[in-house]
């Protein structure tokens, strides 16, 4: 099996690896780098548990090859909290009970990160639309929506305070 050298930035850290052509990005992250916070729920980009940020946009890492991420800047769930402080999105999911089993949560949080970056003050319809690629089987979504509203409020407050 042919291998390819790749060079990328993951959670702010440079990374050089050699990957098989067919190695999926999610397996590269989980199995080679040990970043197991990104989960696999369907291997077909339908459930969103594997969502990460790649070059500033949310993508499903289960349907990208690792070699396609050569040169990319990636952020996974492990890169969101800074200096032990949870990101407002993580805080929102905790405060508003945006999770139960926690399996879809990293993907939900990354999709939320993408949404709030592009639309800092989404209404409920926009939030639900933005989550369309992420399945949650535990919560019924209502409190995920509230978590995102909490995060949006907090992040906007922080921006104003700056």
């Amino acid at each position: 099996m042919a291998t390819h050298p790749i060079s990328l930035t993951i959670n702010g850290k440079g990374q050089q690896s050699s990957v098989e052509s067919r190695r999926l990005l999610v397996h590269y992250l989980r199995d080679e780098l040990g970043l197991t916070g990104t989960h696999i729920g369907c291997e077909t980009s339908q459930c969103g548990a594997c969502t990460i940020m790649l070059n500033g946009s949310a993508v499903k890492s289960c349907t990208l090859f690792a070699v396609q991420a050569d040169g990319a800047e990636i952020m996974t769930i492990e890169g969101l909290a800074k200096d032990g402080e949870m990101h407002p999105i993580q805080e929102g999911f905790w405060e508003e009970h945006g999770l139960q089993c926690g399996f879809c949560t990293p993907g939900m949080i990354m999709s939320t990160y993408d949404l709030l970056q592009k639309n800092p003050n989404p209404d409920e319809h926009e939030i639900r639309h933005a989550l369309h690629g992420n399945l949650c089987r535990c919560t019924g979504y209502q409190h995920i929506v509230k978590s995102i509203q909490y995060a949006a409020n907090k992040m906007q407050g922080a921006t104003v305070a700056d």
Partner: protein
């Protein structure tokens, strides 16, 4: 129990503990457990619904670089014993023998025929594709009706037909009452086949401990102790040498509550290879090989008096068990046949039939939602035929509060219920009169607005469970429990119960669950049994610890033991508030090397097992308001109200989480989910593209109300709550749709209520 002076934490929405690791990507699900030298398994599964295995050629797979072993059904016979289902309610002489790999015949699409173990998961899948199986396809039966036809192919050897069991109970004189009935109302229903579709598929990692016979198994399961027992029996190992760990679990919903064949085979392969072996189910595999649920054909009819009172009930259920399914779920449907209602003249029959489909098993409600759906569809049919109000029909038939504990004719024993109060609360919160006015006005304008109600009653978990409460010398406490919560937040509720009993705070308590080496033997988490049974065990164990704490406090304070009270988080003699010791001081004293005060034995811990007097029977009233597009048949949910009664409420936010999550799944069954097969038994819904789990934009915000009717069957007074949503939502939603469609004369409608299905009903 909700007096905040003596119970500062019970009844409060204490924040969920333990979420931080899940939020920062540090959760530990089975695939996150990394052991050096782990090999990976991949299964070869049948593409045929029914076929004889003529031969399996594993040579190419075995020769593939990186492959450690390939096994067929015949070969694993040397490694473990098959799972056998016999006796119980099965008809005499009918035994279901299931090997983890099929030996001579496959019975559903997804039945495993071989397993490959390789150095890595990619190689295992490559090699699995090289296994050549020669099948001779046989005629398949998909529907129970077809499976009972005289010329149907028979699934299990030595059976005269495909009927696994028949259960019938006749109480009173149903035939006489039907013969003399003023009116007979009948409904025929299909309860659609669905699947739990947890986002984390099944997963297992087995690791033999080098140089010993010990085996550690990480399994995505709700019942680690049961899985340990299953592995020990199948592999002929002492249970004490098997440790099963249920780490973080990515959803389970009852469908990870059994011992799957793969959970026995992977440990056997790990022992055979003497190295860790991991298996992660793919999503496609999960749709094929993880148990499905529901799938009943129901005929329910009532002899009805002019005032809407049901005088006799007949309920006939035919359950599709799939190729190897168990009978417990449909039997629960039979046992809940009278639900919250008074009728005592009944004939209930349940028949379980084997078909060439994925086995059916437990899923959130497990038989009770099927009963509630039939009963509540019947109640609405009665209301419609007699031109009565649907709330009123239910009120007239409901058991009165003084009937409890009630010995139902089916043999179950509801513990307590105030159904009228729940109906009143639902009517108030939904503004029932206001809705009927709006409906009348909008009907005139051609809009199809409808309201549906469901009064459900179900039963929560059976059996005993265990807890060990142990104080550390610094006064922090570990609570180890036999139930195995996995996302419900029950650990937080348990900490609240122990904190109030011991006079400490939940933050000083660590709850351990899901590891047979760290917890007392338990039964597990299913059937909404965590808090009523596990929580009561925590309460009893904590009470024992508190009693010893009082004795130590008396010795420390030189006071009489019977005078010691726990007040404001400290122990001391009644009425002398300046003489107090904290639980931490007591714990320190309990572990003094030089001796415990008063010559008491050292240590401050207790293990307790709680056996309830009976099951608890949660109930509630759900109301849906829907509007149907007259042009397309598309259904929109305008409002959804759930008034649930789970007895005493330990943590209201955790309860609300359970209700909303259950509702999401109930909405799924009612509105969009359907496991589909074609006539040859090919699975048509093999991915999330075809199987429509609700997405964020497809669900409304749910409105919640509650009543509180304590259970007399446990010292906390709590009932289960986890299954209210899947039980209440399907009948409430379908009844709402039928109410909306009433001007068009639509009476028959089966789930899921897709736009196409509704549109077709509107055209007929």
């Amino acid at each position: 129990m909700t007096d905040t002076a003596t119970h500062p934490f019970i009844g409060q929405s204490v924040p969920r503990g333990g979420d931080r690791r899940l939020l920062v990507g540090a959760g530990r699900f089975v695939d996150d457990v990394r052991l050096p030298g782990t090999a990976h398994a991949a299964f070869v599964r049948s593409p045929h619904a029914h076929a004889a295995i003529r031969g399996i050629d594993c040579a190419a797979a075995r020769a593939h670089p990186g492959v450690l072993g390939v096994w067929t059904g015949v070969e694993i016979g040397a490694l473990l014993r098959p799972q056998v289902v016999e006796g119980g309610e099965l008809l005499p002489g009918r035994t279901i023998r299931r090997w983890p790999l099929a030996t001579d015949r496959v019975r559903f699409v997804g039945d495993a025929v071989a397993v490959v173990v390789a150095e890595d998961a990619y190689t295992a899948r490559d090699a699995a594709a090289l296994v050549a199986v020669e099948y001779q396809p046989l005629r398949a039966v998909v529907e129970p009706e077809a499976a009972r036809a005289p010329d149907a192919p028979i699934l299990h050897d030595d059976w005269p037909d495909n009927v696994a069991f028949r259960w019938e109970t006749v109480v009173g004189e149903p035939d006489r009452r039907f013969a003399g009935a003023m009116r007979i109302v009948e409904v025929q229903l299909v309860n659609n086949r669905i699947q739990a579709a947890f986002i984390e598929t099944r997963a297992v990692l087995a690791s033999p401990q080098p140089g010993t016979d010990e085996l550690t198994v990480w399994a995505s399961t709700q019942v680690p102790h049961t899985v340990r027992g299953g592995i020990a029996a199948a592999l002929d190992l002492p249970e004490a040498q098997v440790r099963v760990i249920a780490p973080d679990i990515g959803g389970a919903f009852g469908t990870k509550g059994g011992v799957y064949p793969e959970y026995l085979l992977i440990p056997a392969l790990a022992r055979s290879l003497d190295r860790p072996v991991k298996w992660l189910e793919t999503r496609g595999e999960s749709f094929q090989a993880t148990n499905h649920a529901r799938d009943q054909r129901q005929r329910i009819r009532a002899a009805v008096a002019p005032d809407g009172t049901v005088e006799a009930l007949e309920f006939a259920v035919v359950a599709n068990l799939g190729a190897y399914g168990a009978n417990t779920v449909p039997l629960s449907t039979g046992r809940m046949a009278t639900g919250p209602y008074r009728v005592r003249d009944i004939r209930v029959g349940v028949t379980g039939v084997m078909t060439n489909t994925t086995p059916t098993g437990a899923y959130r409600g497990a038989g009770r939602p099927e009963a509630a759906y039939a009963l509540e569809r019947l109640m609405d049919a009665i209301a419609r035929e007699l031109d009565l109000d649907p709330f009123e029909v239910r009120r007239r038939n409901a058991l009165p509060p003084d009937a409890f504990p009630y010995d139902a004719p089916t043999g179950v024993r509801p513990d307590s219920g105030e159904y009228g109060r729940a109906l009143d609360e639902a009517i108030r919160l939904i503004d029932y009169a206001g809705f009927r006015r709006e409906q009348a006005a909008t009907r005139a304008a051609g809009r199809l607005l409808g309201l549906g109600v469901a009064l459900y009653c179900e039963f929560a978990g059976p059996g005993w469970d265990s807890a060990q409460v142990r104080a550390q010398p610094d006064g922090t406490v570990t609570v180890a429990v036999g139930v195995s919560p996995h996302g419900q937040g029950t650990e937080t509720a348990f900490a609240q119960i122990a904190a109030d009993t011991l006079g400490i705070t939940p933050a000083q308590i660590v709850v351990r669950a899901g590891d047979t080496a760290l917890t007392p033997q338990g039964i597990g988490t299913f059937g909404s049994r965590n808090t009523a049974i596990g929580g009561s065990a925590v309460l009893l164990a904590a009470r024992e610890v508190a009693a010893k704490a009082r004795r130590i406090a008396a010795a420390l304070l030189e006071a009489a033991e019977e005078d010691i009270v726990l007040e404001g988080g400290a122990y001391g003699p009644r009425g002398v508030p300046d003489r107090r010791v904290t639980f931490a001081q007591i714990a320190r004293a309990a572990h003094r090397m030089g001796g415990v005060p008063g010559g008491l034995p050292p240590g401050l811990e207790a293990t307790n097992h709680f056996t309830p007097e009976g099951r608890t029977f949660p109930f509630g009233v759900h109301v849906a308001i829907v509007e149907i597009d007259p042009a397309t048949g598309e259904l929109m949910v305008r409002r959804y109200l759930a008034v649930d009664d789970c007895g005493v409420r330990i943590n209201p936010r955790l309860i609300a989480d359970q209700v909303r999550g259950g509702l999401a799944q109930g909405f799924g069954q009612a509105l969009q989910e359907q496991i589909a097969y074609d006539a040859d038994g090919q699975l048509l819904t093999g991915s999330f593209l075809d199987y429509a789990v609700p997405r964020a934009g497809q669900l409304p915000n749910f409105e919640l109300g509650h009543t509180v009717t304590p259970s007399p069957f446990n010292p906390l007074g709590v009932k289960g709550i986890g299954e209210s949503g899947t039980t209440g939502a399907p009948p409430a939603l379908v009844n709402a749709a039928l109410d909306a469609l009433a001007p068009l004369g639509v009476r028959a409608l089966d789930m899921p209520l897709t736009a196409e299905r509704i549109w077709r009903a509107m055209q007929e």
